[in-house]
């Protein structure tokens, strides 16, 4: 069976991005739609966006990863190429229960990308490999 929800989510992100590029804001209807599609996650993710909690790490070799500072101050590393977050909500809601597309951290990454609110930071290749390998928490 064809899956539609990812397309809905993607179009929302696209709309948010385009609107934000033109008007530098997200209109109310898109916020409401975001809330409708992602549920309570949306509010928390928007809070993360407001707090500038998303950082894009890049290494000289061209690898990238996202780091999100959760509400508790914990750092979550999310990946560019796939949906993964080490947070418990992701493990439970997304992976185990299949009740959500994303957790709030990944949602925040998307929203930050759409609104250009991502912090940029360069790390060394060594740091990056430690990060992606899950052996370090910079």
């Amino acid at each position: 069976m064809r899956s539609f929800l990812p397309a809905v989510a993607e179009q929302l992100f696209r709309d948010i991005q385009q609107t934000h590029q033109e008007t530098s804001q997200i209109p109310d209807d898109l916020l409401i739609a975001l809330k409708f599609v992602f549920g309570p996650c949306a509010l928390q993710a928007l809070d993360l966006v407001d707090q500038h909690s998303v950082t894009c790490l890049s290494s000289p070799s061209g690898r990238k990863a996202f780091q999100v500072i959760g509400g508790s101050g914990r750092l979550y590393t999310c990946f560019v190429s796939c949906h993964y977050c080490p947070c418990p909500a992701f493990a439970y809601t997304v992976l185990r229960r299949n009740e959500g597309l994303l957790c709030k951290h990944i949602l925040a990454v998307y929203l930050c990308r759409a609104t250009g609110g991502t912090q940029q930071e360069s790390v060394s290749d060594q740091q990056m490999s430690a990060l992606l390998g899950g052996t370090a928490a910079p």
Binding site: M1, S3, F4, L5, P6, A7, V8, A9, E10, Q11, L12, F13, R14, D15, Q18, T19, Q21, E22, T23, I26, P27, D28, D29, L31, I32, A33, K35, F36, V37, G39, P40, A42, L43, L46, D47, D50, C56, S58, G62, R63, F66, G71, V80, S81, C82, H83, R97, N98, E99, G100, V109, Y110, L111, R113, A114, G116, T118, Q120, E121, S122
Partner: protein, 916 residues
């Protein structure tokens, strides 16, 4: 304050539906009310949902009275007695006080302050002492019925009939969990109102109910009880998770002015929108057919349901409103027939959508168009209501669980959403970006690309195109800046009354237009590039001259959308007019979609891209020659266009505008404009099919200021129309059409390339004077012009009147000199008017060569003057006219504009004499 509490109690009474409810309820009553519980026991078998506590005070009351539904008790409360009125003077809440009297539970559930309430009921009791012989409540009025219906049905129809009390009923939503509104609304309950959760959670879901049920029969109850037993219980956790306030409980302060704060506020507003909306629907109490007429309600038939990530997606088809018969299965002709409706978990749990169900979705829902999707997606479906269950239709009573929706496999974690890679927003900090770039996209950036398809599809997803793409600019035009944001595809559907409606977008700057180019690459792929706003509309000419027909590099563009033929037929009619290309196209080789070597025989493309860029995004290549791929618009004669066989096509022509008519008041350019055109080919002595042709300039066609000026002046003018649409025999100027004033020289379109020779230069450029018009014929269409002659057979006396006007400037803005009332002054030209003209408005009925046809013509002054006694019009006082003298007068031939054509029951044509 007190009324609020009273309503709560009322609700406690009212929501009792099942015997075990009663037990629960009674358990909360004070011991002194044990007689009430006894009476409950006596009537418990009959599933009576009555507040019986009243028996305490009216012990002699018959059992049948007890059998009243709470709703009817409520309505009858208003009719009771003067005592009530005395109370209602202090509180307009009618239903509240009476039910309060019935309940008066001395012991309230924990958390509710009860003291003021009790004193109030005590006071009431004192007042009620002489009311023993109340009229029996079971005076079954229509209103009672109505209320009762609503009580039962509100599970499906959100048109809650008692908005005030409904508010309070939310406290105990799962008493009637099929009541979707209630569930939904329970999402908006504020903290502390969730009082009855414990008793609620012990209750199973009540059955799906249909809107037809007008009275709750015993069999209905049995059926619902059966269904109730089979419907899975809703877990407590699910119920709790749906209130936004759950997150709000642990809410920390959101950043001021941040997005989260705004969304939070929006949620609150949405909540108030719900109550407002509920308030609105008091009037249409019960029947679902009434609610259907409300604007913005979607009537959908569910075709297929699937579940994905705890939301349910229903493929639906539009249904015509009821009343058009019940057997119809065909979709509405207008709009996309199919939509994909997303129901969130709570809505889906209540609605239990299944194949064959008829579902109503009330505003504010939102429509989201997704690239590459045939059907739109409907979001924000909080107010959805099932009006016709498929099971009910088939006579199946078995309830369906939530499992009726097929569950989708979890989507791949690798399927990311396209924003993560490739697109780099400008807002990112430059300093840090240095470190970030040079990684993913480098190496591709520098390449020069000649294929739009490669450049765009190579991105994988929407984003900016890093490469320069070589294209040929086929068309340059401008579009009016739409009223709403051009990018947001979300269309909120809110009734204007709703307080949650997004603030209206700022009105567009008048006449602001955006420059667009239609480009084609050497493989044949088309794209529309939306560029900057034109500072002045007339600059379009300059860009036409600079770009059209040239090979240009597209630089720094972003992909907005992939547009398909189905969704943008107008644009593709323009692309079709550029197909087949004038030269053989390149071949993408292994790209399957573009494989044929000789593309001239192939079909026109079925998609194109909508791109956006800046002025600098289009850069003409070095050579100043016209690309061989450029296909200029072919100027045709109107005669050729009218004879064309094709149903829909783009056409370009030069024509003389004989007459223009604005559909809205105000200047030309504010709304739709109808033009009556002719050209020499239609004026030739040998009779062509038609002498004139009507053209509609829609508001989506941007008009330059000099064109507007010409259209606002009464004189006839010659104009060039490029890429107008001929659609079903009507000429239209739309988005991509360009209307220009005709320059004197032969280079009509300011292109460096000579235009098509199909319009012989030698031919007279202006039509002969006087212009030949079509005679009036039965086939005539509105907004056209014809010539007309006939005999006056009647005068529309109701519209005939006369007024004085200045004999110098014609203005009717005259005033009397206060000192000399006999003298009149014209306000417009500031001159003294000695002999004002008399203007007459006269509509006459003509009999002409057309038989069985009523012709009503609004005449112009000069014709009126010729009909009436001319001398009379010159006098100070218009003496009026004698109808007898007017009848039988011949008029014509006149040039007349056809305003209205009615063909049933008999041909009736309304015309207006015009001056060409």
């Amino acid at each position: 304050m007190s009324s609020r509490k009273r309503r709560r109690c009322y609700k406690d009474v009212k929501c009792v539906f099942f015997p075990d409810d009663v037990v629960n309820k009674v358990r909360r009553e004070a011991p002194s009310l044990s007689s009430a519980s006894k009476s409950w026991e006596t009537c418990g078998d009959s599933f009576v949902d009555t507040p019986v506590i009243k028996n305490l005070k009216t012990p002699g009351r018959k059992q049948s009275e007890i059998r009243k539904s709470p709703a009817s008790v409520q309505t009858s409360a208003g009719k009771e007695d003067p005592v009530h009125i005395a109370w209602s003077s202090s509180d307009s809440e009618q239903s509240g006080d009476e039910t309060q009297e019935q309940q008066e539970p001395p012991q309230r559930p924990p958390g509710r302050p009860t003291a003021p309430l009790q004193s109030y009921t005590r006071a009431l009791r004192m007042l009620r002492t002489e009311r023993e012989d109340l009229p029996a409540i079971d005076t079954d009025s229509d209103l009672d019925e109505c209320e009762e219906d609503a009580e039962e049905d509100s599970g499906q129809q959100i048109s809650d009939c008692q908005s005030e009390s409904f508010d309070e009923r939310q406290e105990d939503p799962s008493l009637r969990p099929t009541d979707m509104t209630e569930l939904e609304i329970s999402g908006y309950v504020s903290d502390g109102e969730d009082v009855d959760v414990t008793s609620a959670s012990s209750r199973p879901d009540s059955p799906p109910q249909t809107a037809e049920g007008s009275k709750r029969s015993v069999s209905g109850w049995v059926r619902s009880a059966q269904a109730m037993l089979q419907t899975p219980q809703k877990p407590q956790s699910a119920r709790q998770s749906k209130t936004p306030e759950d997150s709000a409980k642990k809410r920390r302060k959101f950043q001021s002015g941040g997005l989260a704060e705004r969304l939070n506020r929006l949620q609150c507003r949405q909540r108030s929108a719900v109550s407002f909306w509920r308030h609105q629907s008091i009037s249409d109490t019960s029947t679902t057919t009434a609610t259907v007429d409300r604007p913005g309600v979607l009537l959908l038939e569910v075709l297929e349901v699937q579940e994905e990530c705890s939301v349910q997606l229903a493929h639906c088809e539009h249904r015509p409103p009821p009343g058009a018969g019940h057997q119809h299965r065909k979709p509405l002709s207008e709009g996309p027939a199919r939509v994909l409706v997303v129901f969130n978990r709570e809505t889906a749990a209540q609605l239990i959508p299944a194949t064959g169900d008829i579902v109503h979705i009330y505003p504010p829902w939102q429509r989201l168009s997704i690239e590459g999707f045939r059907c739109d997606v409907i979001l924000n479906t909080h107010f959805s209501q099932k009006v016709d269950s498929a099971n009910h239709l088939r006579g199946v009573s078995a309830p369906r669980g939530l499992l009726s929706a097929e569950r989708c496999n979890p989507s791949s974690l690798c399927q990311t959403f396209g924003l993560l890679e490739g697109c780099r927003t400008t807002a990112e900090s430059d300093a840090k970006q240095v470190a970030a770039s040079g990684s993913l996209t480098s190496g591709v950036l520098a390449r020069h690309c000649v294929s739009l398809l490669e450049a765009i599809e190579g991105l994988g997803q929407a984003g900016s195109v890093g490469q320069d793409v070589e294209v040929v600019v086929q068309r340059v035009y401008s579009i009016p800046v739409p009223h709403c944001s051009p990018v947001s595809i979300l269309k909120p559907r809110l009734p204007s009354r709703s307080p949650s409606a997004a603030p209206p977008p700022p009105p567009p700057e008048k006449g602001k237009t955006r420059l667009c180019v239609l480009v084609q690459d050497s493989y044949g792929t088309f794209s529309v590039v939306q560029l900057h706003f034109l500072p002045r509309q007339d600059d379009l000419h300059q860009y036409c001259h600079k770009w059209r027909g040239r090979t240009c590099l597209l630089r720094g563009i972003k992909v907005v959308q992939r547009v398909t033929r189905e969704r943008s037929t107008r644009l593709f009619s323009l692309i079709d007019s550029l197909w087949p290309p004038v030269m053989p196209l390149k071949d993408h080789g292994n790209t399957p979609s573009m494989c044929s070597g000789s593309r001239s025989a192939g079909a026109a493309p079925s998609f194109c891209y909508l791109l956006s860029g800046q002025e600098s995004s289009v850069e003409p290549a070095e050579e100043q020659t016209v690309s061989p791929l450029y296909l200029p618009p072919t100027k045709q004669t109107l005669q050729d266009i009218l004879q064309s066989e094709r149903q829909t096509c783009r056409c370009s022509f030069v024509a003389t505008v004989l007459y223009k008519r604005n559909m809205q008041s105000g200047d030309v350019g504010q709304g739709e404009v109808w033009l009556v055109l002719t050209d020499p080919s239609l004026q030739e002595p040998e009779r062509p099919r038609r002498r004139t042709v009507a053209l509609c300039v829609s508001t989506s066609c941007a008009l330059t200021s000099c064109v507007l000026e010409a259209l606002n002046s009464p004189a006839a003018c010659r104009m060039s129309f490029t890429d107008a649409i001929r659609e079903h025999g009507v000429l239209l100027c739309v988005e991509q059409s360009v209307v220009e004033m005709c320059s004197v020289g032969p280079d009509l379109t300011s292109s460096s390339r000579p235009e098509s020779p199909s319009l012989p230069e030698a031919r007279a450029e202006t039509p002969p004077q006087p212009v030949r018009l079509d005679p009036l014929s039965p086939e005539i269409t509105p907004n056209s012009v014809c010539s007309l002659s006939g005999v006056i057979v009647g005068v529309d006396e109701t519209t005939a009147y006369s007024w004085p006007a200045c004999n110098l400037c014609g203005s009717d803005n005259l005033e009397m000199f206060p000192e000399r009332p006999s003298n009149i002054r014209c306000v417009s030209c500031k001159s003294s008017v000695d002999k004002p003209d008399t203007r007459v408005q006269l509509d006459v009925f003509l009999s002409s060569s057309l038989t069985n046809c009523t012709l009503k013509v609004k005449l112009q002054q000069k014709t009126i003057a010729s009909i009436l006694n001319t001398a009379a019009l010159e006098g100070q006082e218009f003496p009026g006219y004698d109808v007898e003298n007017v009848l039988g007068r011949e008029v014509g031939p006149l040039a007349a504009y056809v305003r209205v054509v009615t063909r049933t029951p008999a041909l009736w044509i309304g015309l207006e004499e015009i001056c060409l």
